[in-house]
């Protein structure tokens, strides 16, 4: 029988032990990544658990205590119409985080699909799809965002799609580039050779090999979306009042700079900064953990 006639690869029977640490360990070993995770965790707890502990309304006006500097009653003071800044900061974080993550996820899903189809189809389909992306990319995204927000009165859902409408462009280019590389890999050719159909190749061969790159890119998209939303709110085209948000608070605070109301500027600014730094650190950690993957 064959089994007997075959010399087994005696020396190679011991397979290469997978000594590479698990993904989560590679991700977690960097101090900067830990810092990022802790900062983001802090923001999430601050925004969602904070209001449960610090039970003060973010919307009620304390008209007898407008422009109050930080005190025992108002740890971060009040603004010109008597809103409790700390309470506003907490509630404002919710919309920032929700919109940021949701926009990034929508952009990731759409951009991945678009890029995969474009890369896989090739030829004129690819050309048309990518020129369309180029056209949209050539328009400054802040202009598109301002335009859309001016046309539609944004609520939180609309805001997500508005932000995603520009964020998917970068993702789709990235995915297309990856798809072009992977579709020429020998294992894809081998997949064709065993009779795999195109759709299956996209699902089983392209997607799992692209997802790492997409995940990293999308992490940075979360940070971008939060920043864009803050920027839009700062320009007065964000979510409508009374829902507080960081960019809007910053914008309001700017009007009272002359009276040294620092508590209106620094807290929302710091929150935006922490969101940016933490998410970027996590993105870097993810990238390092994924890129060291053996190919």
């Amino acid at each position: 029988m064959i089994q007997e006639s075959l010399p087994l690869e005696a020396s190679l029977v011991e397979t290469i032990k997978d000594e590479r640490p698990k993904f989560i360990h590679r991700f977690w070993k960097s101090g900067m990544t830990k810092l990022g995770v802790f900062l983001l965790l802090f923001l999430v707890l601050f925004s969602y658990v904070g209001p449960l502990i610090y039970r003060h309304s973010a919307i009620n006006s304390h008209l007898l205590a407008t422009d109050a500097s930080p005190s025992a009653q108002f740890p971060l003071g009040t603004d010109s119409v008597g809103h409790n800044v700390l309470a506003q900061l907490m509630v404002g974080g919710q919309s920032s985080l929700e919109v940021g993550f949701a926009a990034a996820i929508v952009a990731m899903i759409f951009g991945t699909l678009y890029g995969m189809i474009s890369g896989m189809a090739g030829g004129w389909v690819d050309t048309v799809m990518m020129r369309f992306v180029d056209i949209l990319l050539s328009i400054p995204s802040i202009f598109i965002l301002l335009f859309l927000n001016a046309v539609f009165q944004p609520n939180i859902f609309l805001m997500i799609f508005v932000l995603a409408s520009t964020a998917w462009l970068g993702v789709s280019r990235l995915v297309r580039a990856e798809a072009l590389t992977i579709k020429n890999q020998l294992y894809v050719e081998a997949a064709h050779a065993i009779g795999t159909r195109t759709l299956r190749i996209m699902v089983r061969y392209l997607f799992p090999n692209i997802i790492g790159t997409v995940l990293v890119a999308s992490t940075f998209q979360v940070a971008d979306a939060i920043l864009y939303m803050a920027g839009l709110s700062f320009l007065g085209l964000g979510l409508p009042p009374p829902t507080p948000n960081w960019g809007g608070m910053l914008s309001d605070g700017m009007n009272y700079m002359f009276q040294n109301s620092w508590w209106l500027i620094y807290p929302p600014g710091l929150c935006i900064l922490i969101a940016q730094v933490s998410i970027n650190l996590i993105g870097d950690g993810l990238r390092n953990a994924i890129e060291t993957r053996e190919r």
């Binding site: 064959i2 089994q3 006639s5 075959l6 010399p7 087994l8 690869e9 190679l12 029977v13 397979t15 290469i16 032990k17 997978d18 890999q185 020998l186 294992y187 050719e189 081998a190 997949a191 064709h192 050779a193 065993i194 009779g195 795999t196 159909r197 089983r204 061969y205 799992p208 090999n209 053996e294 190919r295």
Partner: protein
């Protein structure tokens, strides 16, 4: 014996800067059931293009003409759907690079079962059982554990065994192996060749073995087709090719094999020059520029493939001179 594959005047043209050039020119050969045919030639002579053309895995821009009859059906006329059903089920393929031929993100077991389940309606457990058995047949020790491992955990030789398992699991009638041992070291090469020979014998599979290694040919093949610059220049039984060598190119290939037992410490005799490029094919014999026996006629007229004895053809004007 019945013919599994019969290729008649297969030509492949590629578009280079708007013009079409022949990469494979009027190639004809056949493979009988259970037979091993070696397709030999140096890099760039069209061996791989020939094999990819007949399973229609070339880019759409390539122009393919001729006939490739597989059990009487012309592969070049089939619909894409029919091709999907033939690839992997009736025609298996093994590639040169085992290191990159497996999808890095799935376990070995899942990749072997996938091939089974693409073509057969069987349960997951049954696919797993058959995959396990196949892994055992290709000589992998501890198949249960290997099933659960990822490609990067395996050595090159083991990956090539897995590729063979994938190619053979549906018990194809024809196996196309494109330089299956080129990327492996010599000891593993011998094992892999042994394995392929045993499997093709036990499964009664015909084998189209593409290689540039005449040692591999001598060990494995029943018949040989020698390709040069997109044409078959000599074709015949393996003994005839080695011992009654006719074409100067084949002779050149044989001379270029290092031998350990040469008495005089002669230097290796390479074939001087390079394969002419696709875009500048000479109008006469394509080998004329490198041929030690080239005559005026060779530069002017392209020789046809001439029958020089039973089952032995050669594309050289020298034979014509002998006949006349």
């Amino acid at each position: 014996m019945s013919e599994v594959l019969n290729i008649t005047s297969l030509s492949v043209e590629f578009n280079i800067n708007g013009e079409y050039y022949h990469a494979v020119n009027d190639v004809s050969f056949h493979i009988n059931a259970g037979e091993t045919l070696g397709l030999v030639g140096e890099s760039g002579c069209g061996k791989s293009v020939t094999s990819l053309a007949l399973v229609r895995l070339l880019a759409k821009s390539a122009k393919i003409s001729g006939k490739a009859l597989y059990n009487g059906r012309n592969l070049l006329d089939l619909s894409l759907e029919e091709m999907h059903q033939i690839r992997g089920k009736q025609i298996g393929m093994i590639f040169q690079e085992p290191m990159t031929s497996l999808n890095p993100v799935y376990k070995i077991g899942s990749q072997i079962s996938e091939t089974l389940r693409l073509h057969n309606k069987i349960s997951n457990d049954e696919a797993k059982r058959q995959s396990l058995e196949m892994l055992r047949k290709v000589g992998i020790a501890r198949p249960e554990e290997i099933m659960e491992e990822y490609p990067h955990q395996l050595s090159g030789g083991m990956r090539q065994r897995v590729m063979i398992a994938i190619a053979m699991i549906n018990n194809p009638q024809l196996l196309i192996a494109d330089e299956p041992t080129t990327a492996l070291d010599v000891t593993i090469q011998a094992q892999i060749l042994d394995l392929m020979r045993n499997l093709s014998r036990d499964f009664k599979t015909s084998l189209l073995l593409i290689t540039h290694d005449l040692g591999v040919v001598a060990e494995m093949c029943d018949r040989v087709a020698v390709m040069y610059a997109g044409q078959i220049v000599e074709q015949g039984l393996v003994d005839d090719i080695f011992f009654n060598t006719n074409h100067p190119y084949t002779q050149g290939l044989l001379n270029a094999i290092p031998k350990i037992d040469v008495q005089n410490k002669d230097r290796l005799q390479p074939i001087v020059g390079n394969v002419p490029s696709l875009t500048r094919m000479p109008k006469g014999c394509r080998f004329a520029t490198r041929c030690p026996h080239a005559m005026d006629r060779c530069k002017m007229e392209s020789p046809p493939l001439m029958e020089i004895r039973e089952n032995h053809q050669s594309r050289c004007w020298l034979n014509d001179a002998k006949v006349v």
